[in-house]
Amino acid sequence: MAKPNRPRTDRLACLLHPTARFFWGLALLACLVFAADWKARGLLALLGMGLALAAGKRVSFGYFAFLVASVVVFNLFLPVGRVWLTLGPVPITEGAFFLGLGKGMTFAGLVFFSLASISRDLRLPGRFGALWGQTFAWYEQLMDQRKALKPRALLMSIDRLLERLYPTRPGTEADRPANRKPFASTKTGFPGWLLMGLTVVPAALVSVFLR
């Protein structure tokens, strides 16, 4: 019998306000994007992976390894630098390999930092923000009730679910998203600021000095 999946805890949610968390992620992203060397990008991507795991996100190592490998492979078709070996008509070169590696690490790192820093409780400003709040409320209800969808009677089960959440029959009322509890938001305390400092400062140093 398969073990049930352990629920993943977002350890960062109790330390960081969603907005502070968003800007923290942007700062880390900037460090990654401005890093010149593939080693620096690799280190930052590893940091990002750790933070994404701390945020309780599911990180598929196979997927990201495939992503980096495929970027490297496509870059090898544009040979640059010392030839390591020749595979058929394709020379495998040092420069193309490390260029692709750096690129792949950058794309993986972008996803990791994004996973770590984007919280579902992120509030967007203005009227669009209010609309997003309503949307997310409906989305949570849909996700809560997704098991009501039956593949063998898909259309009927979708119809029933939609009618339950957004009634259209005469005389019925929708469960208004205004009744949803407000977005939970932690204040960023000292541990949160410490976390941000301990990640952004080293990331910036790695980005600037590891060349």
């Binding site: 544009l78 040979p79 640059v80 630098g81 010392r82 030839v83 008509p89 020379p91 070169t93």
Partner: protein, 121 residues
């Protein structure tokens, strides 16, 4: 299905076949600069300006790639024949610094009728 439904279906299939045709069609390889020195062989695209430092027994031979051409800018040899050979631009052309054992040639593209069929270095 309606008329434009068929049109977009056919268009999508045509794009599939068309892009497959382009991908699989044999094409001339892009022009590249191939440099052989004491460390082995290096390859660079001809359309990107750069300076290449080739290591030989006498020292560094400096090779410039600029404006889709290649020339030896500086070399530690005595006679500087490699520098006098000037700029090469087409596939098969080469420049060599024999004392420093550095050989530079352009590969890829369609071969020019003037280039030799083979070379031994």
């Amino acid at each position: 299905m309606k008329p434009l439904d068929w049109f977009f279906l056919v268009l999508s299939l045509a794009l599939t076949v068309g892009t497959a045709w382009v991908v699989l069609a044999p094409t001339d390889a892009p022009l590249r600069v191939e440099v052989q020195d004491a460390g082995g062989t290096s390859i660079y695209p001809l359309d990107e300006d750069r300076t290449i430092e080739a290591q030989g027994p006498l020292g560094i031979t400096s090779i410039h790639v600029a404006q889709n051409g290649v020339f030896v800018h500086d070399s530690p040899c005595t006679n500087k024949v490699c520098i006098a050979m000037g700029t090469i631009r087409t596939s098969g052309q080469f420049v060599a610094c024999l004392p420093n054992r550095v050989f530079v040639r352009i590969t890829g593209g369609a071969p020019s009728p003037e280039t030799p069929d083979a070379g031994v270095w």
